[in-house]
Amino acid sequence: MSPATSPGPPPAPFQVERVHFDFPGGRAIHLGDPASNQLVGAGPEWVRGTRNELAAYVRGNRPNLRVVFRGKPAANGKYTIGADGTPFQVEERDVSLAFDPITELSGSEVFEARGNLPDVIGVHPAKLDWYVREHPPPAHCPPAGTSTHRLATSWRALATAPAGEAALPNWVYKSLMEWTCQWAAGQNNERAICDAIFNGLPSSGLQYGVRAHTIRDLLLNQGGMCQAWYETFQQMAQCQGVFVYRRRFLVDWRVVAGGDEHWCAIVVRNGGLNQTSPTHPATTFHDHNGEFPIPAGTTVPLTTITEPRYRFWGLPGYLNDGHCINFLDHEGKVYLYDACFIIGPVVINSPIPANNLAVPQGGAALAPFKTAYLDDAIDYMLGTVRNGAAILRSVPTSQNGMTVRTANIPQTIAGADGLTFRWGG
């Protein structure tokens, strides 16, 4: 029986007013608020009647918390304070409280939890019934108010980037922590956690194809483009202590024999996450769904269609646009996650592509990636391609040449790589 919840003594002459988990010296994970662009823990997560924000810890950790009480100066004095509750209690501590005559607030006092948080990934409601110990247990104690909280427990401490990869911040957005702790609840290995996060994405309501290129803008705008998405998925995994790689594959616009250009843009018909169709305006495409390359002197029928599709344009001789994805390296296997188009996990039987924009990668080196992912995910590659006597020329952002089924592009064409990309981080 809780000493604080039993009927009996009158309330303490003060009440709990503020509870701060992510304070300097605290053990909470730093969380960011996209709306304010500040750390949630810049102030107490719980303020009576006005604020109740998420706090996060690594599972099984023992929280400490900084608490402020409200009372009259007449109540100044020494007290033994503790809290009963779930999922943890607060160890009793002797404190001297002095209340400000104007604000009626005490100074802050740091308390230790008695017991650890659950040793699993999850989001847990917490309730702390504060009391003043006046007599030894099991005597009833004067209650000093109740604070309620939401505590997320992650799998591991925030992931850090390995050498050669872009550094990760030492904080994460609160919504990403909350979602991933819900979606990956109970999971206990990197692959299962990533899969659970990936499968949870649609339920977030967030979309692909929305103008946002950073995690913060994605959260504020309820969606983003692929740059925002590969950063967001990386941070989602980071929340659980799992590092996933970010990679961009950029269109490598090459002029090949005969003046054709392979390739000018990536073309995708899928609307992407929580979209029924691409958000880009409709343009006219000339699809070649048959064998490629087209034999010299041969004219093949093309399907002309005007519809919205995503075009990821290259520029001749320049590093321009491309698509962004994530990789997980787990137990010797490489898994690809495409959060934008919800494709994954895809096992890729090759190493994670090196971050090296200076050198194009293609042909045999690209083959496992192409077979396992690209042929399904990327409907067409847009090029400047000869069809009999005609040449269908692509002009960046303004004119579609010929769209060739990605799956029909062979590993080599006339001795050169059929498809190449520039890979960046």
Binding site: R211, Q227, R248, W313, G317, L319, D321, L357, P396, G424
Partner: protein
């Protein structure tokens, strides 16, 4: 910002209708796909120094892998490096250090790395290799014409450039390169690497 580039001017905060990303690229591409004019060079420097986002219509296509302002900076960096090589190395390095975008940093590093690799090295202790400026200018023509956007040849590679080895002569405290008249001023990149 030069009024010669009204669309870029408007995208970067100037007065007038909000342009689309396609219009921005349509105006930028002719600038960076041919040897830079002085106003074009100035424009690209303005782009890499520009703070803040671009003003663009939301209904048109946007780049996917970088934000529009980062993509514009990326293209400006590449354009400057392609046509002036390491002349603006300081500006490129500064942008690399100040941008929050690791993706843009990757592009800048790759561009600098490529430009560094293309720099001619001294072929022997007492000789110096120079690019013939006439060769560079003649090599910068367009490869073919297209409907609206001209497509340039890829950036000249070291192997394609005519390198001329000239003996170095000394006269008192001066070092002279045979067959070359003294230039009135040095390019900025020489200051960067002096000493």
């Amino acid at each position: 910002m030069s009024l010669a580039f009204p669309i870029l001017n408007r995208a970067m905060g100037g007065i007038g209708p909000t342009p689309s990303w396609g219009e921005v690229i349509g105006e930028l591409w002719p600038i960076i796909s041919a040897p830079l004019s002085s106003v074009g060079e100035r424009l690209l420097l303005d782009v890499i120094h520009h703070n803040g986002g671009l003003r663009l219509t939301d209904t048109d296509e946007l780049p996917h892998s970088l934000s529009p302002d980062e993509m514009l900076k990326s293209l400006a960096v590449q354009g400057l490096a392609r046509w002036t090589r390491l002349t603006y190395l300081t500006e490129l390095r500064r942008l690399e250090l100040t941008t929050a975008s690791s993706a843009l940093q990757d592009v800048i590093r790759a561009v600098i790395q490529t430009a560094m690799a293309a720099r001619p090295e001294a072929v022997e202790a007492d000789a110096i290799s120079e690019e013939e400026s006439e060769v560079e200018e003649a090599d910068d023509g367009l490869m073919w014409s297209v409907t609206t956007l001209p497509i340039p040849k890829p950036a000249p590679k070291l192997a394609n450039r005519r390198l001329v080895t000239r003996p170095i002569e000394r006269f008192g405290n001066l070092t002279l390169i045979s067959g070359k008249r003294a230039r009135r001023s040095r390019r900025k990149e020489e200051f960067e690497f002096a000493g």
